[in-house]
Amino acid sequence: MKARNQGITRDSIFRVLVTIAAAITLLLIAAIVYELYNGSTASIKAFGLSFIVGTVWDPALKNVFGALPLIWGTLVTSAIALILAVPLSIGIGILLSEFAPRVVRFPFSLLVELLAAIPSVIYGLWGIFVLAPTLRSSVYPAIQGILGFLPLFSGEVTGFGVLTAGIVLAIMIIPTITAVSREVFNSVPNTQREAFFAIGATRWETAKHIVSYARSGVIGAIMLGLGRAIGETMAVTMVIGNRFEIPSSLFQAGYTMSALIANEFNEANGALYVSSIVEVGLVLFVITLLVSAVARALVWRSLRMYKGASME
């Protein structure tokens, strides 16, 4: 009898232990939200909305902080990354779930996943010494030759700037979008494929149908990629040029929220400066939270719809 009682208590101890561990996630998220908000109260009080729409970042003389160029830089580089990465990723996703012979699907998937395993700082290193010089010497002059009349592609070409940052980001989010969309395509019931083949559709026409059938999952995959692009730091910091202004040309240097944090956290003297950097983190956090919550809900829902099972 004694032994059995002990068993029951140990059981409940273990249950409490694993529940606490699981609750740590919730506590962490609450702590992150609290700390970011708490840390930025001074800046929120001082600048209010003008922090988001202001274009002056002057810690030295006036102690005024406005982050619009950073938000603009983050959104534009992420948009460029999506424009480049989405068609490629969906194409690869279709290839890996519909077209490629079964034998090569594993090695192809592995290679694409390795792109995701390479650390951001190594993309930055490669960006500085391989990608930027290549773009400067051959790709950008060619673009300028054709589209140079547009203000978007005018100005001096250094190889470092908004467009280069967008290209590096595109490479980095391809594996994310590819992996999730492949998973979503794989989870589409086979009856959908069989029905199309049965009426004589080609493989491409069938694949097109699969993509449109799985579109909410695909949108989720794209938004997961977007979330990753928005928060990416080191690679962007190393190739974007880090100049605090809203550039008119994609070849010009720019700045992003994450890059500013990485560059200035260590120089921040004075409570208002520290608080402003934390608020940049808060804005970045809120944007990624919205994007990733919507993305995960979409992916979750579409996988659940097809499989009748939970997320994985």
Partner: protein, 280 residues
């Protein structure tokens, strides 16, 4: 065969070809990174590079021994916190969590794993570094462990869910209590997946740069305690890459080579082991 069906056939071929082209385009950067890094790193790799302290700023010679040591310490400390919490969370989700509560935790675990690592860095910086007024190795480990928890939790849950229910029932039917069944039977049967997940999480945080930059910063000396800054491979790559000296840039490639070998090596081995998933 009608004209229309010939058009459709060619369209089919063209677009399937474009999909292969997309894969080719995506693999160019991967191959370029691996090839260039290996090529530029090879001249730097020798015993001094792997074991010595950095030489005085801007002078030739020296090594990155302290960065290797620092990364090993940061990652081990983070694993000591992150792996137990992650595994226990995974056990909760797979064995104990029921209904809405488990769904909520699973959802927020996913959300936490979607947080940019720099946000975790800002969090720990604002919470710890700003308050203690200096950078510290333990702050970096805390940041890294937060990044590990959702990854380990998810892989643990997945691999424990693959354990057949009959095994749990057999153990419970023998009168073994639930906690003991979970730890000695379920976890033991599912251990390869749990270990795989933990190793994958280690390889993911080993290359994290932004959170360490904000919390641990860097040092030119050997490890001198958890309360002091320490060097690390990712930060060494960052600082050397943006330095004006050719010798340091060369060393950045050497450090990048070590990091790539470690991270890609683990990824490839882990994927090969868990290959069964792709063959289902």
């Amino acid at each position: 065969m009608s004209q229309i069906s010939r058009v459709r056939k060619w369209k089919n071929r063209l677009l399937m070809g474009l999909c292969y082209l997309a894969l080719g385009i995506a693999l160019v950067p991967l191959l370029s990174i691996i090839f260039v890094t290996a090529q530029k790193a090879l001249p730097t790799l020798n015993l001094e590079f792997l074991t010595a302290l950095p030489a005085a700023y801007g002078t030739a010679g020296g090594g990155i021994g302290n960065a290797i040591q620092g990364t090993a310490i940061l990652v081990s400390m983070a694993s000591l916190i992150g792996i137990p919490v992650g595994v226990l969370t995974g056990i909760y989700l797979s064995e104990y969590g029921r209904g809405r509560a488990a769904d909520v935790i699973r959802f927020f675990d996913e959300v936490l794993s979607g947080f940019p690592s720099i946000v975790i860095g800002v969090f720990v910086w604002s919470l710890i570094v700003v308050n203690i007024h200096h950078f510290a190795a333990f702050a970096g480990s805390v940041a890294l462990s937060i990044l590990m928890i959702p990854v380990v939790a998810r892989t643990t849950e997945e691999s424990l869910k693959l354990v057949p229910n009959s095994i749990r029932e057999a153990s419970l039917a023998l009168g073994v209590s639930k906690w003991r069944t979970t730890l000695s039977v379920v976890l033991s049967v599912g251990r390869s997946g749990v270990i795989t997940g933990a190793i994958l999480a280690v390889s993911r945080i080993a290359g994290e740069t932004a959170p360490i930059l904000l919390t641990t910063l860097s040092s030119s000396y050997w490890f001198s305690g958890l309360d002091a800054p320490v060097s690390s491979l990712p930060l060494t790559i960052y600082y050397y890459a943006i330095s004006p000296f050719a010798d340091m840039r060369q060393k950045a490639w050497g450090a990048a080579f070590l990091l790539i070998m470690f991270v890609l090596g683990i990824s490839i081995i882990v994927r090969l082991i868990s290959r069964r998933r792709y063959l289902r």
